[in-house]
Point group: D2
Chain length 374, copies 4
């Protein structure tokens, strides 16, 4: 099969991370042919041209609509602000392209479901950008849970704390605008945590959520005026997974001191696992077997015995970085395309994540437990 | 004033900790005269006599009723299983003794309130055993919050995880019996966490709780038969403090890997604090002031600049232990008695803690937000 | 046997720690009768009287010579500055008292050997105050090494870093005076590290040392003038243990940021151990057995399965403190006296520690490897 | 200027890391044009062809001599075992190519100096592969030291511990052969630590070293027989930097439990810094300014305010990995070539590192302090 040709829309934070991964994936994975960086779209012709030069793309355009219908593009990679995902993804699907879309898939579950259904109907591959679960240590965690190494697993604690909006002086951005961003911390950070919960333990049945907007107004740099923040800074939830396992979620964009605090604990009758993304090369494992006098949490350093680590480095403990997670994710996208079979996390997972987010919001509004539609 | 004479009931885990503290407090605090270890009661004459010899008490008795009315006893120190607190405390109060009682004050909020009212009516001093908050670093945390060092404080995360019942093979004990223990993880561990929340941030207005009994039955060593576990292994709650600050509680006696995991995070606009009891000599402080390129969580080691540390050691970082917290607590009890004024945490705090525990239980039953009566 | 009656000389930092331990040891160890706090000596009659009241001693004196010959004193406990140890210990021995002396035993190895010989000749018990090795986790470490749990042990890294003299503005004290303190960081901190090395791995055969005085002068608060610092701020050494095992020592009283940084690593073919006193309730253990994909350093929290922990607390992870180490040490002293047999670390260990310190100093002067006399 | 065309020799661990970096550097650094992956040499035609395909090189060869004289190659990148560096580098220099060589530059200081002199004489650019110092946080550390943020810096502790040869059952490899590898732990790991010392604090004047071969023989998989290990497993040294600052080095390939334990502490009158490569995104900083009651080591997470971080990610705390360090290093190589001026670390640094290594070996042999030739 020919090397898939990528059309990337967006050159912000996450667009650049995709571009770096597209450039690196072939060299990292010996059995994976490098994709073609074919076409880059950005908001203007100039910025797109600059981006293409910087990011190693062959061509550029100031019009994303041209990209999604470009005949030399096989995969459309959507790295734009949340409210643009729907239109772009649907256009790409309509043009028969495979679609690789950053989280969240859309700003509502209904729109997300519309996109997933369209992609299925068109028979294209669709994959979400939930990079954290690509971590070799989280793959290991999933394997350990599934293999029963923790015994019967009965509790989950998850959190994702960052502090980019702790300071009330941080200006208003599109992330504060419900029409553009959808929810706040939930969409930006919570989507990752929910996906991680799904990855480790399966679907979520119901939630009891609570939202908090710490700073009700922020100064809009465009107008110089205070402007309402239309979504939450913090989301908390009691949750129940479909397998009957309860847990908690804590999600904050005002978690002062945390820079990338995606964390979880999983507890079972025979062991426990803990992880925090700021120390992404460490998985803490407590094994209840053995004598109490020698027991304790063990810090497993990522190494070549763990899934997808060896292609980066044959030596343990040398450390992967955030961008390496995207390299693994891109490899997963390429595999799904090459195999012609669904990958994971696909758009259906994008829908499921959105539904949990919405259930948390509804639960907050009704102050009652809320079922997650399946 | 004469040195107060203590009558201690109970020689288990916590009774011994009280006795050690009663022996040490005079030497540790130069300005504090040592109390008199006058009388020790245990379940039998023999065990009481052995205990008195071992723990430095002048006399012993197998009858706690004799202790509470003993003329040479000024303070009754109740260190028995939960269901005995009420009767003993009321009897001591009736005899005009000061009472120092381990948590929880009683097995229901109503009983707790009855005890507190009786103590007030009798005009005796009454103090609770919530030792963790005596930690110099938690006193520091309280001061920092109160002084605004974290800016406006807007979020609390608290947990208390231990794993003494993670293993399904752990036998049934009185802690599994509602009549004897009241609630499970809530009474044993949650009471400390709630008290800590009160200590740092004030009263709790309402909760949304969820309880989980992981192991529904355990083998009763008395009968050799499986026996129902009548209270929860895990309690989770969304909470709202009276000052309008939301938070979460997570309490577990099946928190595999944790031995004394009382922990919290407090987030504010200008900083954050974090603590975990297993590293009780460390307080993590994030100060948002200063350049981002130098920012990070700072690990403050307990030292003589912190409240109540210097009497133990003039050098920083040398470390206090669990029993030292009891020494501080006993000093607080002695102060309240010497001053003839209410100390803190007194029985009213015991009542408030119990009310939060019951609100969590009621909320679980009704699956709705529940107000904490004030 | 009657309860041994203690005469304590000195009420500074370490004298108070001894007093606290003497008050607590009976209550902590059920099988250990409490010693009698008989007589306290300090530099003046008044300060001694105040100290006795505060620290629970029956009598006091402003004359240490009266204490060492007091007929009601069985054990003389020397907690004075280094240069006084020799005279006091010899006087106590001459009076037929058991002697319990703080480190270092003397300011030179020759004087230390003189004291040890005198004690042996008099047939009294003699014990040193090297409290850190009393830690349950260090006792565990010693057992694990001896039992071969690390395989063949082949390397040691030890350090003891504090920062009490990092700041050049810290005034001159007696610790800077060779006649009063002997060596600097070596005597104050290095003596503990050397003792710890002996405890874990046996005797030290030779050293290659290097000393550094960072701040050559400090202001003497008595005169207001700058005054020479006569001993080292930092000592470093390559060492070889008698069993043929090499290692390194790093000792500093200007280790900026460290408050009680006594630390070591021991490496063997099948495992490793690491410890740092500032986290004195944690022992890190790497076990090379088992699959690489699950390997990592395990943090063992001190608990009742470890030597001498349970008398303090039946629950794991609740934490001992610095003063608890002294309680264990005092118990060891009481045992040696009760048994009438040598305890450890006795004055001969004090001599051996002193010889290593001197070998490091001599090696620094000669800039060559130096044998430790045996 | 045209994009530099790279010829890479070697496709092992470090060759692949170079290839990944060559593919990624253009996308990461917006202002840096991507180099051309022109020609790859490996030991056979087939393995080279496979490597070229996997690693994104245009052409391949089984003959490194053809590579170094290939007209389409501008830069020769030497990633072969140590004993081949000299011949390859000299041949590349003779052909007028720029040379980028992995550490150590050669197996002796004399050979290293020969190479550096040849490169200077030929007027080509020459750069070493010492990737660890490219870490944004180590660049920050260097800046902080240079700017006096730690006050007067007076002590260094450095170590590099890995455990890849802890197990005596690990087979004999070329790294155990003096003719092929030169020294053992020193060449493989110590070279990095010495370079790091140079980077932070400047040249090293003299050393007192001690070497240890823990496992004298290992089984040669080729012959099935035991074979002598000809170089050290552990190197320890007391060192003195030219600026008059003492320190210690500890280097081990049998540091059981460590996977990439390159670590240092730097102490000054006003602060301290600590780093460990296994947590490469954290720099611990102690700032002695401010009140003691708030002091402690602060964990600075790598972020966009630190040198060379932002091109990887605009958000702090997201984490760089080992391969990202190589990307920065390759950017430095490209800059040196583009500027036509010496970069750092160049071959002269390679020579200096080698001289320190040899001085440690000589010091071990003579058991005396040894000057490092300048």
């Amino acid at each position: 099969m020919a090397r898939p040709r990528f059309g990337l829309i967006g050159t912000g934070f996450i667009g650049r991370a995709h571009a770096i991964a597209l450039n690196a994936v072939g060299a990292v994975f010996a059995d994976q042919e490098a994709p073609v960086c074919e076409l880059l779209a950005d908001t203007t012709v100039d910025s797109a041209a600059r981006g293409a030069r910087a990011l190693g793309f062959a061509r550029s355009t100031g019009d994303w609509r041209a990209l999604v219908t470009d005949r030399a593009v096989d995969v459309v990679d959507v790295c734009t602000p949340n409210h643009l995902h729907r239109e772009m993804a649907l256009a790409a699907i309509a043009a028969g392209k495979h679609v690789y879309c950053e989280k969240p898939l859309a700003n509502t579950a209904r729109e997300a479901a519309e996109i997933a259904a369209a992609a299925d109907a068109a028979g294209v591959r669709h994959m979400m950008g939930f990079n954290y679960i690509c971590n070799p240590l989280l793959q290991l965690a999933r394997e350990m849970i599934a293999a029963g190494e923790l015994g019967e697993v009965y509790a989950f604690r998850g959190s994702y704390l960052e502090d980019y909006m702790s300071d009330p002086a941080v200006p208003w951005t599109w992330r504060c605008d419900r029409a553009l961003a959808g929810s706040g911390a939930l969409a930006d950070l919570g989507s990752h945590l929910i996906n991680l919960g799904h990855f480790l333990l399966g679907g979520i049945a119901r939630v009891q959520g609570s939202l908090q907007t710490v700073h009700a107004q922020r100064r809009d740099p465009a107008s110089g005026q205070l402007r309402a923040v239309e979504n939450e800074d913090i989301a908390r939830a009691l949750v129940e997974f479909e397998r009957g396992l309860p847990g908690t979620f804590e999600i904050s964009r005002v978690g002062t001191g945390y820079k990338c605090g995606l964390a979880f604990s999983v507890f079972g009758t025979r062991g426990a696992l803990e992880f925090q993304q700021e120390r992404m090369n460490e998985l803490r494992h407590y094994d209840a077997a053995g004598p109490a006098a020698r027991s304790g949490f063990r810090t497993i350093l990522a190494g070549p015995e763990h899934p997808d680590y060896r292609p980066f480095c044959p030596a343990p403990g040398h450390g992967l970085g955030y961008n390496d997670l995207k390299v693994i994710e891109v490899r997963n996208v390429l595999r799904a395309i090459a195999n012609g079979t669904p990958g994971w996390p696909d758009f259906h997972e994008g829908v499921r994540v959105q539904r949990v987010m919405e259930a948390i919001e509804q639960s907050h509004a009704s102050r009652s437990w809320t079922e997650v539609p399946s």
